[in-house]
């Protein structure tokens, strides 16, 4: 029971990070509730995929990367692996940039310098910390992100209008922007790194077939509650920024959504939520990259070992953090970088998800717990949607920016 609760708590705090906060804020400020359907759709897809990752890990005792290399061979595995590496690198940069920006909002110091102590903090925690410490610590701290849900409630959520947003409705103008925003929300929510990370956690905790129900609950409720926080951001933006005519082109503008509710605690809360969400995500992504490499090449990957005992593993996350600092330090705009990584996610997603179609129906891996028709339909849908969006996203980016 405790496991389930902890799993859900971790999911809530871990759900929002730089991508979901920026896309939800922009969506709410520019289009009010008209993009709620994108969030709902993305969450639904994510629930299915996370449950599959967990099921695969529990029954086959393989993580996703393990299983893909073994089942499809290294020559195939190289492709999703490379995609994952590039994507994780991009998103890691964006997340550390997010923490830096949160600190900038509080101190006024330019974000590009703040990213250095942020990176150092991330690395120190990975080097010296344990998996449990990181997961549970960030999970609890992550509850601060519930401030967005509180804000939306206090501002008075217009239920009718919000529910209406569950149906896609293209606005009279700004078509390209609307389309690109929808794609970004999908990319921000369905993060490929979460899939391998979740399966790695499941294998590390030695999940068995008896944990399948726990898995289903964690995936469903955890992701569901988590997405409520994203919805909170969108709603707060819709109810405070949109009426004021403020679009979100910089994070400073997004922070304006909380002072109306929390007074002088508004901006500090926003900064705290952004910092915690991004920091937790940065840890997770750096770890996931190390997991993915270790699992692809067959190295030892127990996070709780000392760095000296897992030299190759430790090197990967160290290099990842080092490289990820560079773009922000060089002055690349973090918000632009975030949006770019969302678009790249959409392109990488189908490649990472495609193996599920085979693995989740292969009794060698999932035994009798094969996918039902619905599960397979969802995966197929995500793959097709990903391909289509990848083709469409590039011109949309040109038109929408």
């Amino acid at each position: 029971m405790l496991k389930v609760v902890l799993g859900i708590v971790t999911s809530i705090g871990g759900f929002v990070e730089v991508g979901s906060i920026s896309t939800s804020a922009q969506a709410g400020a520019s289009f009010r509730f008209r993009l709620v359907w994108a969030l709902a759709l993305a969450t639904l897809c994510l629930m299915f995929l996370i449950e599959m990752s967990g099921r695969l890990a529990a029954v086959s005792k393989h993580t996703l990367a393990d299983a893909v290399r073994e089942r499809f061979g290294f020559n195939f595995h190289v492709v999703p692996l490379a995609g994952e590496a590039v994507l994780d690198g991009l998103v890691l940069t964006a997340e550390m940039g997010g923490v830096a920006i949160a600190l900038h909002l509080l101190t006024g110091i330019p974000a590009r310098w703040l990213v250095v102590p942020v990176a150092l903090a991330v690395w120190l925690l990975l080097w010296f910390g344990t998996f449990g410490m990181i997961e549970n610590g960030m999970g609890l701290l992550g509850l601060v992100t519930l401030c967005f849900v509180v804000a939306a409630m206090k501002l008075g959520l217009p239920w009718r209008e919000a529910a209406g947003g569950l149906v896609p409705s293209v606005p009279p103008d700004h078509h390209a922007s609307y389309g690109f925003m929808a794609v970004s929300i999908l990319g921000a929510t369905i993060s490929p790194y979460m899939l391998n990370f979740y399966s790695s956690g499941a294998v590390e905790e030695k999940w068995k077939e008896s944990d399948l129900m726990t898995n289903r609950i964690t995936a469903g409720i955890g992701m569901g509650f988590g997405s409520l926080v994203s919805f909170g951001v969108l709603a707060a933006a819709a109810l405070t920024l949109q009426p004021a005519g403020i679009q979100v082109d910089r994070y400073e503008q997004a922070a304006l959504m909380l002072p109306p509710v929390f007074g002088r605690w508004g901006v500090p809360l926003f900064a705290a939520a952004l910092a915690v969400g991004c920091f937790g995500a940065a840890l997770e992504i750096a770890l996931n990259l190390a997991f993915a490499m270790a699992q692809a090449f067959g190295w030892n990957w127990d996070k709780n070992q000392r760095p000296a005992e897992d030299a190759r593993f430790s090197l990967v996350y160290t290099l990842a953090v080092l490289v990820a600092v560079v773009p922000i330090l060089a002055g690349v705009d973090p918000l632009r970088l975030t949006l770019l990584s969302m678009a790249v996610t959409v392109i990488v997603l189908p490649i990472v998800v495609l193996p599920f179609l085979v693995l989740m129906n292969d009794e060698h891996y999932v035994g009798t717990h094969r996918n039902g028709w619905l599960g397979n339909a969802v995966v197929a849908f995500i793959v097709v949607m990903g391909f289509v969006l990848a083709l469409v996203a590039v011109p949309l980016e040109i038109m929408g920016s």
């Binding site: 086959s60 005792k61 393989h62 393990d66 290399r69 073994e70 061979g73 290294f74 020559n75 595995h77 190289v78 080097w127 010296f128 910390g129 344990t130 410490m133 090449f297 067959g298 190295w299 030892n300 990957w301 709780n304 070992q305 000392r306 760095p307 000296a308 030299a311 190759r312 430790s314 090197l315 160290t318």
Partner: protein
Amino acid sequence: MDLVRDLLDKQVRDRRGKRMGKVDGIVLELRKDGPPRVAFVEIGPVTLARRLGPAFGRLMQAIDVGFGVSDGAPLRIPLSKVRDAGIEAAVDLEAEETRAWDWERWLRRHVINRIPGAGSRL
């Protein structure tokens, strides 16, 4: 060849249950009487790189030798020493002492241990 498909890319565990590597390559023995059979499994980055293309193999070899990690040759294990352990394979060797962990040892010595705190854990 079922055995090839089953063995290739499988996770290998050592005597202590540590993850030693994956089966990166297979060495077949051609016989006059009967089909070829698997003689050895190979674990090594050069072997793996070569599967992507001979140029990659040469590149990995150059890196291996250039950094002084090894001579590039993979760890070869006779099939008789490989035990099928369900989803993984087990060998009666000490990973730490084999070529499969050349890079692990090299990195530990030259990089990781140079960073403070490598041997500690909170």
